[in-house]
Every structure is written in structure tokens, then in C-alpha cells.
């Protein structure tokens, strides 16, 4: 499975433009909450373009805006979610931004406590197995989430039954402010795969080609009934954890600048025709601006609906 580099760059550039716009809107008080994905783009684009959109399932990490674009959510839909509008397809104005979800796109609803969706993703994968389909479920979570006990429970069970799923740690070396060395005695998270008897792979996830290849291998393996793979996707988060975070309190500007030298967009750009890349950038900026402007003007969450959907039948 070869990666269309132009398409990958389009996804990543659009995500970057949307991300920066969201950051400014949230800081300007025009939206509640921004969750940056800058620095994680190659992961979402890499696996999103390796999945069969509309067929496979995703239990995404909250920084997977690029994957949402890759599998078919539009920038307008994503901005509806960002602004908590009535027609927000992910949460209908009920969850903050980056709590992805869409039954139509196979996106398992994402929750606040991380990474509870890992077990949900395993259940979805198990369901596909029991229903006799060849659908794969991609399960993404952070290096912080990887330390939680239930992730072990989930990987163990998925390995026992060779379930059609992929576990991907989006490893940016921080759990908000807590650095890797205080998260795990052994930094090599892929090594844990050996304990479950499944393949583990460490990927330079700033390079979308490497990320896509690793994702495609793991997905093919899952689809063939050979069970899950654990991917330790090494990346870096360029912006604070969320719009409520101040990352100057826990990491130096020099460290962030150093990481920016390997910006996934810059790395991919080197492989593209410069004029083509410029045109994609231009288009991405236009698309992001238009989508944000359109979505901000849409009707907000409706208080008339506030009692709906607690149960199937309103009591």
C-alpha cells in the first residue's frame, strides 16, 4: 500500500491550519477549548490514509484531527464540533472539542478520562470478529494513557483472542507536564508487546511515510486475523497540552525549537514539488478560514434539547 504524498500533505497542512486557527479562537475567547495536534500530524495522516475509510473503526487519540480529515470528516463538521454547535456531528454540543465520535465514519465516541476508549475499541474489534466482518479497529492513545492499568487489561485480552485491532501510542514524551522518565522506567514502550506475545514497533512518527508503512503493516496483520500490534509512534507536541495549559512551566523553549526542526510538515515538503506544496498550503489556509467562519455562524446547542438522549425514551 503506497502513500499518496500529495494527499498526505493536504491532510497535514489542513490540520495544521485548522489547529492554529482553533488556538487563536480559543485564546481570543471565541471558543471554549483548543486541543492542539501540531507535531502529531504524521500519525493521524499516516494511519488515517492506511485505513479503509467508512469501513474500519477508529477509537482515536484526542490529537487525531488529521485522522478525522483523512477518513472523511470535513473541516466544517470539525469546526461545528470545535464551537459546540447544535449540528456538531461528534457530540451535538455536549462534549468539548477533540472528543471525537461519528457512527457514520466509524469513529468510536471519545471521552474525557484517558484512555478509557482503549477497552471500548477492543470491544468494537471483538464485535467485528463475532459478526464475521474484516473490519479493523485503530486504537490511539497518549504515552500518558499507556501507563494506565486498563490498557494492560485491554492489550492482554486483545492478544489472547487475536482481535483485529492496532494499539498506537502517540508518544510525545509528556503527560501534560510530567516527562517520560516519570511515566515509565523503560522508555521503550513497544517492548511491552513482547509481554503479550504480539509484535511491537517503534516508529519515527515525524515521518509520515514511516508512520503510514507501520500502520499499513499492522492493519493488514489485524485484517488477516493475526491479531493486534503495538506501535510506539514517537512525535512531539509543539503547543501546550490544551488552551488551558502553560507549557513554559515544564519545558524549555530551546527544547521545543529543537523539535520543530523535524516538523512533520517540513519533512514531507522535502519530498514534494515546491509549487505543488505551496498551492496545497494556500488551499489549506482558505479551507480552514472558510470552515471556521461558516461554523461559528451556525446555531449553538439548543436548550430545548437538553433533556433529550439520557435514555432511548425520554422519561
Amino acid at each position: 500500500m503506497t502513500l499518496d504524498l500529495d494527499r498526505a500533505y493536504e491532510v497535514m497542512a489542513t490540520a495544521r491550519q485548522m489547529d492554529e486557527r482553533m488556538w487563536r479562537l480559543a485564546r481570543a475567547g471565541r471558543a471554549h477549548f483548543a486541543v492542539p495536534c501540531a507535531g502529531h500530524e504524521a500519525i493521524g495522516a499516516g494511519y488515517g490514509l492506511a485505513l479503509r475509510a467508512g469501513h474500519d473503526f477508529v477509537a482515536p487519540h484526542y490529537r487525531d484531527l488529521p485522522a478525522m480529515l483523512a477518513i472523511g470528516l470535513t473541516p466544517r463538521e470539525i469546526f461545528l464540533h470545535f464551537f459546540a454547535k447544535r449540528d456538531d456531528p461528534c457530540a451535538h454540543g455536549r462534549q468539548p472539542y477533540a472528543h471525537w465520535g461519528s457512527r457514520a465514519h466509524g469513529v468510536v465516541s471519545q471521552q474525557g478520562p484517558q484512555p478509557n476508549h482503549v477497552t471500548h475499541g477492543v470491544g468494537v474489534a471483538w464485535g467485528s470478529r463475532l459478526l464475521g466482518t474484516d473490519q479493523v479497529t485503530w486504537i490511539g492513545f497518549g504515552d500518558g494513557g499507556a501507563q494506565k492499568g486498563e490498557v494492560h487489561e485491554a492489550m492482554n485480552i486483545a492478544a489472547i483472542h487475536k482481535l483485529p485491532c492496532v494499539f498506537c501510542v502517540e508518544n510525545n514524551f509528556y503527560t501534560q507536564s510530567v516527562p517520560s522518565r516519570l511515566e515509565s522506567a523503560r522508555p521503550d514502550l513497544a517492548a511491552r508487546a513482547a509481554g503479550y506475545g504480539i509484535p511491537g514497533e517503534t516508529v519515527d512518527a515525524m515521518d509520515v511515510r514511516l508512520m503510514h508503512d507501520a500502520a499499513a503493516r499492522a492493519i493488514a496483520r489485524a485484517r488477516a486475523g493475526q491479531g493486534p500490534t503495538l506501535i510506539d509512534a514517537r512525535c512531539y507536541r509543539y503547543l501546550p497540552n490544551t488552551s488551558n495549559d502553560d507549557d513554559t512551566r515544564y519545558r524549555s523553549r530551546e527544547e521545543v525549537e529543537e523539535a520543530r526542526r523535524r516538523d512533520p510538515l517540513l519533512l514531507l515538503r522535502q519530498e514534494l514539488d515546491a509549487a505543488r506544496a505551496d498551492a496545497i498550503d494556500e488551499e489549506a489556509m482558505t479551507v480552514a478560514a472558510e470552515a471556521a467562519e461558516w461554523a461559528e455562524a451556525q446555531p449553538g446547542g439548543d436548550p430545548e434539547e437538553v433533556l433529550d438522549h439520557t435514555y432511548a425514551q425520554r422519561s
Binding site: 457512527r103 471521552q111 478520562p113 478509557n116 477497552t119 470491544g123 468494537v124 463475532l130 486498563e150 433529550d308
Partner: protein
């Protein structure tokens, strides 16, 4: 319709089997449910019948069981998970209360989790703190969940069938004492109880008693006893704990005007509080309501007499009901059903015939260990002083568990078999201790002055007579070292 007599456990098993037969999307998962057939045998035979794809033995991982069950439901399966004991539900709570219950709401109806988690709850099995809990109050506070707790075999089948077909997540609570003890007629074949209404288990007009699970059967036994006294009580099997059948409750209370709730869960913030509040808000009560519940103890002890002292019984229900029937106005309740502080508020008569006697002994300033050792001797000599009142009589104990009251900053914690009060050098020279409810005696050590102190013994005369008290003090004196 053909009916057979089944136990609650057999009814649960029949519902599982019939739903698996009817709907291939129904799968079971949990610890020991396959080869063993479940620790209570609820899924006995189902592995052989439906195969390991649909009857799944999981690792010991309650959190993942709950989370994976939710994922299966999201994917379109109809999973039924078993958590062996309700006590282990706490590890699963995040995925039930935090996730499944909120899924429909947080996605505006896009995603749903039609799952069932079954679990065995309740005490009376000498299971101790971690195999006896009742957890209904935790989950009945979670909108988005449904909580069912059948009391009879026909409901166990009909409601579990309804739970499996329900579009919303259901916690299905099975009282483990009902599993084999409660039998009754159960319809063969399709039987669905999905109305969300409580069940009038016995009709009457004097008083409404509400219960569920094993306590419902205690309430029914109490109703028999009360009927012999001419008090015809109505007994409501709540069975749907969330959402509550408010109309059904109020219909009954409009006729009786009197409410007694009995639950095995602890008193404070239990479901009784909600039922009383619903009744009070609706203005349907002619006298204040009463709750008979587990006292607010830290856990359920394993020792027979201790557990028996805690779990509500038909006798406590009868006593509370009689008391309630004596009320002709809305004056505050008195006596044994008065809601109390943490501990023994609802369990024991607080008016105890007490007596006391005092001796003077030589005692060093630092003496607690000496006194405790002497107490062991004295209790061995006069075991009536180291005893507990139970409904079956006065139970003598081999071992002394001392409730140590060291002053206002370090009061006794309760749960022991004998109370020792010692306020130390700052205390008074002579003070009389109070016998703690349930116990039969208490000793107070006065402040030591010039190497001497008064020991005051208080006893409950129903268990200990004056001669016994004298022998106890004599034994105590002999066991203390001479100066």
C-alpha cells in the same frame, strides 16, 4: 401459559439461554462463566450449548470486562457481562457510570450501549467485607443507566429478558441469598417484564413497606406477622431501582399514608432517602417515614453474630412497623426507629436497664495494657459481660474485642464486644461508663491519684445480674498486679 417452579438462579439461567437462542448477537463474558458455569452456576451448561465464541471466560479484569462490554454493545452485539460479586463492581464503575451511561447523551443519540452487567449482591453468606456489599445506591444515582433488582424467580427471568432487549445499559442486581432460597412459578418460553413498574407483592391499606431483593422477602414475612396482629400492610417490590416507579409508589402511599423502606444497603444516602423524599415532596404521608437499613458501618463483618446484628430482619421490620402504626400525628419519632448517627441508629432499643458497681484498685499511671490483660481474664471468668444481643438471644464470645474510648478526641469506634473507657490523667476520678448498644457491659477506669484508681462497671441487667457483676470485678482485681 405453562409455568414451572424455578429458583431465582434457574430463572436467570433460563433467561440467558432463551435470549441466546433467540438472538445470535447475545454474548456472555465474565470470570469463570464458561467452564465453571459461573461461581454461582448462573451460566451452567451454556458454554457447551453455545460455544466459546459466545460464552467467554475472561481474565480477572473487571475494568476491561466493563469497557469491552461497552465496545461490544457499540458494535451492535448484545453483551451480557457477569461481575462475580457486586463488591468487585467498583473497578467497573467508570465504564458503567462514566461511560456507558453517558454515551447516548454525549453523542446526541449517535452512539448507544445496549449492554447488561449482571452481578450478585447482598450479605447473609458470611462473605465478609468483599463478598457481601449492596451497591444499588451508587448506580441509582447515575442517569442513563437502568438498575433492576428482581426479588422473585418470574421477575428474574422476565426482567433479565427485558434488560437484554433494552436499548439502554442495564445493571442487573441479583441478591445471592435469593438464588437458591427463593423459588416460585416461572412461565415457560417467552416472558418479558419490561413495564418499569413496581410490583405489589402483598396488598394492604395500613402501611406501605417498600423493599427489593432479599429484604422484600423479609418484608413479606414481617407482613405475615403483622397481619396476625390485625395490621394489613402493603408490600411493594420496587424491582426497578432506576428509574423509580414514582407513580406506583405514590398510588400506594395515597391509600396508606405511611411509608417504611427496608434495604440491606447502608442507611445514609441509600435508596430509602430518595423514596422518603419523593413521598414527602408529594405530600402523601400522614406520619414521618421510617427507614430500616444496614447501619452506617464500614463493612460487613464475617463473624456470624456480627453480620446477623447488622442485616435488617423481619423482626426489625415488624418493630419499626408497629412503631409507625402507633403514630397518629406527625410528631418526631422516638425510640428504636429514630434515625441516629453513624453506627447503631436504627437497630437497637436505646433504653437499657443498667446497673453499675465500683471498686478501688492500685494502678500505675501507665496501665492500659495491664487493664486490657485483666479484662481478658475477667471476661473469661464472666462471659455474660462479653456478649452481644441478637434476635436469636444473647451470644457469648470467646474472644474479647474491646471498643476503646480514650476521650472525646479518640472515642470508641464501635463493633466490639466490650467497651473500656479510660480518659487518662485528665479524666475524673469516678465516672460511670455507658453500655454500648448491642453489648452487655462497659468498664471505666478513673484518673489515677497516688497510685490508686476507681474501676466502674456498668452492665445491662438483661444479660448480667448483680452477682455476675461482682464476680467480674473480683476477677479483674485479681488479674491486676499487686503493688
Amino acid at each position: 401459559m405453562t409455568t414451572r417452579t424455578l429458583s431465582v438462579l434457574e430463572a436467570v439461567r433460563e433467561a440467558l439461554a432463551e435470549e441466546m437462542e433467540r438472538d445470535p448477537r447475545v454474548v456472555l463474558l465474565g470470570e469463570d462463566i464458561g467452564r465453571l458455569g459461573g461461581v454461582f452456576r448462573a451460566s451452567h451448561g451454556l458454554l457447551d450449548r453455545f460455544g466459546p465464541e459466545r460464552v467467554i471466560d475472561t481474565p480477572m479484569a473487571e475494568t476491561a470486562i466493563a469497557g469491552i462490554t461497552m465496545g461490544l454493545a457499540m458494535r451492535g452485539l448484545r453483551p451480557v457481562a457477569e461481575i462475580q460479586f457486586a463488591d468487585f463492581m467498583h473497578s467497573a464503575m467508570d465504564h458503567l457510570a462514566g461511560e456507558a451511561a453517558k454515551l447516548r447523551y454525549r453523542t446526541g443519540g449517535d452512539w448507544t450501549a445496549p449492554l447488561v452487567v449482571r452481578t450478585a449482591y447482598g450479605g447473609g453468606f458470611r462473605g465478609g467485607p468483599y463478598h457481601s456489599q449492596s451497591v444499588e445506591a451508587f448506580y441509582s444515582h447515575v442517569p442513563g443507566l437502568k438498575v433492576m433488582a428482581p426479588s422473585f424467580p418470574d421477575d428474574a427471568k422476565g426482567m433479565l429478558t427485558a434488560a437484554i432487549r433494552d436499548p439502554d445499559p442495564v445493571l442487573f442486581l441479583e441478591h445471592k441469598r435469593t438464588y437458591r432460597a427463593i423459588t416460585g412459578p416461572v412461565p415457560a418460553g417467552e416472558h418479558v417484564v419490561a413495564d418499569g413498574r413496581l410490583r405489589v407483592a402483598r396488598a394492604g391499606d395500613a402501611l406501605t413497606i417498600v423493599g427489593w431483593g432479599m429484604m422484600l422477602h423479609e418484608a413479606l414475612a414481617a407482613a405475615d406477622e403483622l397481619a396476625a396482629e390485625g395490621i394489613e400492610v402493603e408490600v411493594l417490590d420496587l424491582r426497578w431501582l432506576l428509574p423509580i416507579d414514582r407513580d406506583g409508589l405514590l398510588d400506594s402511599l395515597r391509600r396508606t399514608g405511611r411509608l417504611l423502606v427496608v434495604h440491606e444497603d447502608t442507611l445514609t444516602m441509600g435508596l430509602g432517602a430518595e423514596l422518603c423524599a419523593l413521598a414527602a415532596e408529594a405530600g402523601v404521608l400522614s406520619v414521618p417515614p421510617v427507614r430500616v437499613a444496614m447501619p452506617d458501618v464500614g463493612a460487613i463483618p464475617v463473624a456470624d453474630a456480627m453480620e446477623d446484628a447488622l442485616i435488617p430482619t423481619r423482626h426489625k421490620v415488624v418493630a419499626a412497623a408497629r412503631n409507625l402504626m402507633e403514630k397518629g400525628d406527625s410528631s418526631p419519632l422516638r425510640g428504636e426507629v429514630r434515625p441516629g448517627g453513624p453506627g447503631w441508629g436504627t437497630s437497637f432499643d436505646t433504653t437499657i436497664p443498667e446497673a453499675s458497681s465500683v471498686i478501688e484498685v492500685t494502678l500505675p499511671e501507665v496501665h492500659l495494657e495491664l487493664v486490657l490483660a485483666a479484662l481478658q481474664e475477667a471476661c473469661r471468668a464472666v462471659p455474660q459481660c462479653n456478649a452481644t444481643f441478637t434476635w436469636d438471644g444473647i451470644r457469648l464470645h470467646d474472644q474479647v474485642h474491646v471498643d476503646l474510648d480514650l476521650g472525646p478526641l479518640s472515642p470508641a469506634r464501635g463493633g466490639g464486644t466490650f467497651t473500656l473507657v479510660d480518659y487518662g490523667p485528665g479524666g475524673s476520678l469516678l465516672g460511670l461508663p455507658a453500655v454500648r448498644p448491642g453489648q452487655t457491659a462497659a468498664l471505666r477506669v478513673g484518673a489515677v491519684r497516688e497510685g490508686r484508681a476507681y474501676l466502674a462497671l456498668a452492665v445491662d441487667h438483661r444479660a448480667v445480674d448483680g452477682a455476675d457483676a461482682g464476680r467480674f470485678l473480683q476477677a479483674l482485681r485479681q488479674a491486676l498486679p499487686e503493688r
